[in-house]
Point group: C2
Chain length 209, copies 2
């Protein structure tokens, strides 16, 4: 049953752990590829080009827009962010399940272009746990943490647009839940029209042959 990979969208509140989950699932299972976004913002300490982001010049990014090389893009605080198409399509064709870790607005744009794409929203079990995780990072001021929480309130308004709600309580449980979603999506009838056609024709041949 050699079939094409599935594109999937993973969004969620800052601090909910979506980055940790998507990295962990890629390490644990061979079938995944994590899409790398492009951006014009400057790399932060520790960030690597081609791993965390493709860091581009403004002109390079605008060239990609011009030749339709991005699945979606947006600008945020005077910088561009986007999803390069080539990596995604290449990996899907090779049978990889490609994860787009992407914020809510971008997710909705991708879903408009690719309606079959399952959308997964990652949340912490409660606001209190979310805030604890943000503060536990120890890298951000209380003001920034408050800003992220206010943004979570806004993003929560879009949760109903998603297909699945993934409550990240324990990391490994969340990874397994995501893996179950993907394996289950693979046996959906609408992704298996070729298999269905083969079974129909196989049965007819067998009965009439």
């Amino acid at each position: 049953m050699a079939e094409k990979g599935i594109l999937l969208i993973v969004s969620g509140f800052s601090g909910a752990g979506k980055g940790t989950i998507t990295k962990a699932i890629c390490n644990k299972y061979d079938n995944y590829a994590l899409s790398v976004s492009a951006t014009t913002r400057a790399p932060r300490e520790m960030e690597k080009n081609g791993v965390d982001y493709f860091f581009l010049m403004k002109e390079e990014f605008e060239d990609m827009i011009r030749v339709d090389a991005l699945i979606e893009f947006a600008s945020y605080q005077e910088n561009y962010y986007g999803t390069p198409k080539e990596y995604v399509l290449k990996n899907l064709a090779e049978g990889k399940d490609v994860i787009l870790e992407i914020e809510v607005q971008g997710a909705l744009k991708v879903h408009e272009k690719y309606p079959d794409t399952p959308m997964i929203f990652v949340t912490a079990p409660s606001a209190k746990v979310l805030a604890e995780r943000l503060r536990g990072r120890g890298t951000e001021s209380e003001e920034k943490v408050q800003g992220r929480l206010r943004r979570a309130v806004e993003e929560s308004e879009f949760m109903d647009a998603y297909d699945y709600i993934l409550v990240n309580d324990k990391l490994d449980d969340a990874v397994e839940a995501l893996h179950r979603i993907v394996r289950t999506e693979h046996i959906k009838a609408n992704r298996n029209s070729r298999l269905i056609a083969e079974i129909k024709s196989d049965l007819k041949q067998y009965v009439n042959g």
Copy 2:
């Protein structure tokens, strides 16, 4: 996260193993209840009332139709077959995932009434394997086997109406695939509107409190 159980429809070709799968999943996991159909046909050897079917008199069955006590019913070769509502609703309310093992026409009727019900179609890996399994039972004449295969050809026309295609190659793999479907259905956003509402209000309170 105490939530209501899910009703699920399992259909498939005779010989594909749907009965074996549904019995095995109920034995392996506590969260399932297998709906028992009612019929007016006579019990076969080894069949037990309340286990294989509820065996009813024609008048009893027609009473159930009259008081709307059946989710669906049909008549086939001068006998009634149907799904009693009470057992299903009681188990769903107790949080059980209730499996309706039901043929294609009944499945479509149930799905019309309960559109959220995931529909799973079980098939053997090939017509050859299906025929081998039917013959391997050793209980049926070649004529009956041919009849079942012709029926499979007819039923295959409805596979596209199902949500999931479950290829039953190895029993335990098929049981696990069905269990994954159910666990994944449980975290669908449209089954978790209460959870989403709680997260929204929790975040708002936390930020504003």
